[in-house]
Structures are given as structure tokens and as C-alpha cells.
């Protein structure tokens, strides 16, 4: 009953894509308009928190190696922390705007987790490529929410952050258990399937 790895990536891609669209819409209309409905302000932080919660079963079920478990659990914790921090800020229970730094920290840890738990080189197989591209996207993309933490009204930082998340969603949708990437597939990766 355990889902194949590629299906897990696609399910997370769906959550990440929704998160990205909400962030992009907020970047376009601005926070003031976005927060006119209280429930809407809670929407994307809740999705981020939920993605963190759903990362725990991934940590428990996909135990390929210790580093996999550590990467997935640190990732789950950081997503939950960033989501909770944003929920706290939106609800007014957290006053200090420095809590916004949880977002870039989450992206940096997520990027590092992607890179650390991928033991194979870029062109070993599609999945290795996807992990490398997601890792670097998130690591470099962490600069956008970092900038937005200090310039919250900046369209460049907010839209840039959202577009990084769109990129991660697209990359996750391209993930396959065993498939070539740009014609490269290591013989030790196994036989390619659909």
C-alpha cells in the first residue's frame, strides 16, 4: 500500500503548486488586499504547515538510509516551523517581524536536505537531476524571502519567492523513479519505465 516514490513527489508537487499560486496572487495584489479576508490570510501558511505534517510519513516510510530520514525529518520540522511562524504573525500572536526569517531558513534547510540526501550525480537518472535542481533552486531562492523579510512590500522579492516555488513544483512533477534525463541514465539505476 506504500506509494511509489514518484507518486509521493507528484502529491507534494500538487501542494507546492497550490502554495505557489497563492503566494503569487498575494505578491500581485499586495498583503493589504490579501488579508481583507481573515481566512485567506491563514490559507498559505496552513498549507505550508500541512506539507510539513505530511512530510513525517515520508520520513517514516522511506527509510532508504539514515541521511534520508534525517533530511526528511529536518525538512518536516522546518516547514512546520515556517508555517506556524506565519500563522502566528497573521493571527497577531507573534509581534516580532523577525519571525519572517523562518521562511528563508526553511527554504535553505529544504534545499540543503534535497542536496544532502541525493547521493548520486546530476545525470545519474531523472530523480537525481530533480533533487539537484530543487536543492539549488531552494538554496538560491532563499534570498527572495530573506529580502522580503526586510522589504515586505517588494514585488520583486515576493514574486521571486513565488516563482521559485512554482519552479520547485514543476521540477517535482518531472520526477520519475527510473527514467533518463537528457538522454542520460546510469546502467546501475535500473530499467527505465513510464
Amino acid at each position: 500500500m506504500q506509494p511509489p516514490s514518484e507518486h509521493v513527489h507528484w502529491l507534494f508537487a500538487t501542494g507546492v503548486l497550490l502554495l505557489a499560486l497563492l503566494l503569487l496572487a498575494e505578491a500581485i495584489v499586495g498583503s493589504e488586499v490579501w488579508r481583507r479576508r481573515k481566512w485567506r490570510a491563514y490559507l498559505w501558511p496552513s498549507i505550508l504547515f500541512g506539507l510539513g505534517v505530511f512530510m513525517w510519513p515520508v520520513m517514516v516510510l522511506f527509510t532508504n538510509s539514515t541521511i534520508h530520514m534525517l533530511a526528511h525529518s529536518s525538512w518536516a520540522q522546518m516547514m512546520m516551523l515556517a508555517g506556524a511562524a506565519e500563522l502566528g504573525l497573521v493571527s497577531g500572536k507573534l509581534k516580532n517581524e523577525l519571525w519572517k526569517l523562518c521562511l528563508p531558513a526553511m527554504l535553505a534547510v529544504s534545499g540543503a536536505a534535497f542536496l544532502i540526501h541525493e547521493a548520486n550525480p546530476w545525470f545519474y537518472a531523472r530523480s537525481a537531476f530533480v533533487h539537484h535542481i530543487c536543492g539549488w533552486l531552494l538554496l538560491i531562492g532563499a534570498l527572495f524571502p530573506l529580502g522580503a523579510a526586510f522589504k515586505p512590500r517588494s514585488l520583486v522579492y515576493n514574486a521571486g519567492y513565488a516563482l521559485v516555488i512554482v519552479g520547485v513544483a514543476v521540477a517535482l512533477y518531472t520526477s520519475r523513479d527510473v527514467a533518463p534525463v537528457f538522454g542520460h541514465l546510469s546502467p546501475s539505476a535500473g530499467v527505465a519505465h513510464r
Binding site: 502529491l11 503548486l17 496572487a25 495584489v29 490579501w34 481583507r36 479576508r37 512533477y173
Partner: protein
């Protein structure tokens, strides 16, 4: 002077309506991406040929998930644009 003020106001209104259009376009563009994907890789939509497919292949069909995200966001987009236009007066 009045002409200048009017043209500036029109420019602001044009920019604001562009923002509304951008938000309204996000959902349909996402749905379109899912539909194009379904045509390019029809074997990913296992509902079209469900025989012999396992549980996860039937439940998780990525092009349909992309379309579903687009539909969900489109429902939200109308409320967002309504609030945007109210704030613009």
C-alpha cells in the same frame, strides 16, 4: 494640469486592472498546463485506460492534479479580484 492628473489616474487604473487580469489568468493558465500535459503524455491519465493499473496509479494522475489546482485557485481568484477592485475604489 487637469489633463495630466486624468492621464495619471487612467494609467493607475490600467495598471490595477492588469493586476486583476493577472490573478484571474493564473487559474486558467494552470488548467491549460494540465490539459496540455495530458495530451502530451496521455498514459499519465490512467482513467482513460484503467485496466491493470495499481491503486496509486489510479489515484495520483499528475495532469488531473494540475487541472484540479487550477480549478481550486480559479474559485479563490474571483474573491481576490473583488477585494482588489473594492480597495481600488
Amino acid at each position: 494640469m487637469n489633463h495630466l492628473a486624468t492621464s495619471e489616474l487612467q494609467e493607475v487604473r490600467t495598471r490595477r486592472s492588469a493586476r486583476a487580469l493577472a490573478v484571474l489568468a493564473l487559474g486558467p493558465l494552470t488548467m491549460l498546463a494540465g490539459v496540455v500535459w495530458a495530451f502530451v503524455q496521455p498514459w499519465r491519465v490512467t482513467l482513460l485506460h484503467p485496466h491493470g493499473e495499481g491503486f496509486w496509479w489510479l489515484v495520483v494522475e499528475p495532469p488531473l492534479l494540475v487541472v484540479a489546482v487550477g480549478i481550486f485557485f480559479s474559485v479563490l481568484a474571483y474573491g481576490i479580484v473583488r477585494d482588489l477592485e473594492e480597495s481600488e475604489g
